[in-house]
Amino acid sequence: MIKKFIHQFASPKTYLFQVNRFYSFIFYFSLVIYIFSITWGLLLTPEDFVQGNSFRIIYLHVPASFLSQSLYLAMGIASIVYLVWRVKLAAYLIIAIAPIGAMTTFIALISGSIWGIPTWGTWWQWDARITSTLILFIMYLGLISLHNSFSNHEKADKLLSWLVIVGAVNIPIIKKSVDWWSTLHQSASITLTEKPSIDPSMLYPLIGSIIGFFGLIICLVLISSKHQILIREKTKSWIKDYV
């Protein structure tokens, strides 16, 4: 049953129709959660004992950083699926995600820099976390330029998948950089195994903003992947019926 569902869903046609069904729901649900969490975090959460009001940038910085890595992981999984099972939809997803991943990484870097000025006294530091995130951003740009340099889409998809898999080595480095090196960047406040070191009054809106931001980015991925399918499958008869 699951296998049948996956096979069905892996068809670009089914995917396109399913996206249209769920898109509005995901978008409005995420938008409400994000606006609610941001309002809560910016207006109702008390000031931080040490950082004052500057800490409130976490409601943008943390979701963007989380998403920048998660999107790359998603691309990594899609690459394996494409190379092993030759699922076309996975290849479309990879190139659909890449520009959005670059955007979230850019937001994470910029918001981190803005946060750095009042807290560290500098907007940039060549420490392990920031440098590895910058590498991730360059990787995203490299992936986009590699794909754009080939007119043969199938070849471009294969090469892109291989590069995504190789570049995935950077993800654990980013995650663990604050533990492996002594860095200016603080270690993770929320982990799966330990109690969060952040106060609940700041934690709940943060979780809400992560969920909301995640949903909104998923919507962007859905639109981008829809666009990819429409470009790549334009010669198919069902596309003509769909349009």
């Binding site: 392990a128 440098t131 590895s132 590498i135 360059i138 990787m139 490299g142 330029s145 590699l146 340099s149 080939f150 070849k155 294969k158 090469l159 291989w162 590069l163 898999i165 190789v166 570049g167 080595v169 950077n170 480095i173």
Partner: protein, 215 residues
């Protein structure tokens, strides 16, 4: 051994491919003192940064045409059809490039370090670091060149350059530990660990990438 000898003869014929990167490395290291004052203590300040970047650039130049000729004249296609161990052939080609370019660059690194720092221990420590790092850089740029096989080597270099940055960070840290007299063997072991993974993984991935180009 036969493959290695064949790769040696092929590379030896292409003088520009192996001599060019060594000369570029040499020129960068000679040009460096001209940009700073000729005082010994001033010379040392940025010397090692220039050294690592020079190694990186020379390895980038070394791999510029590593596959393109064979790709254009159909040799790669023949090798893929005939040879069952394409990965092994790629490994041997990288080894030969390292022996012909990486080793001389490491020896030159030692000479330049000795000339600048006048510290034999420090200069000797540079040899393993430059040997390992040049091999890692070669592998990474080979990967990049395989990806951008008929699209120019610049794209390939840009794609894999970010992966080389952590190696540069480790090189910088290992140098500080040498200068402070802390045990730097841990850094060499870390680089060796990375290298042992790269040596196995890169030829496999490169072989798949080249096959994708030939399909």
């Amino acid at each position: 051994m036969k493959i290695l000898k064949l790769e040696y003869l092929k590379l030896k014929k292409k003088t520009r491919s192996w001599l060019g990167p060594i000369l570029v490395f040499w020129l960068i290291m000679i040009a460096y003192p001209l940009t700073v004052e000729f005082l010994q203590d001033k010379l040392e300040i940025g010397f090692f940064s220039v050294l690592w970047i020079a190694i990186l650039i020379s390895m980038m130049l070394a791999t510029e045409d590593i596959f393109i000729e064979d790709y254009n004249d159909g040799t790669l296609e023949q090798i893929v059809i005939k040879n069952s161990s394409f990965q092994f052939l790629i490994s041997m080609r990288i080894v030969m490039y390292w022996l012909m370019i990486g080793i001389p660059v490491s020896v030159l690194s030692f000479i330049f370090t000795l000339g600048t720092s006048e510290d034999l221990v420090l200069s000797l420590s540079i040899i393993p670091l430059s040997m390992i790092s040049s091999y890692i850089f070669l592998n990474l740029f080979v990967l990049g060149n395989a990806l951008s096989l008929n699209k120019g080597s610049l794209l390939g270099a840009l794609l894999t350059m970010p992966l080389a940055l952590p190696v540069l960070i480790v090189l910088g840290k290992s140098l500080i530990s040498i200068q402070l007299g802390i045990n730097f063997l841990e850094f060499i072991l870390l680089l060796l660990g990375c290298l042992s993974i790269i040596i196995i993984v890169v030829p496999i991935i490169v072989s798949y990438i080249i096959k994708a180009h030939l399909e």
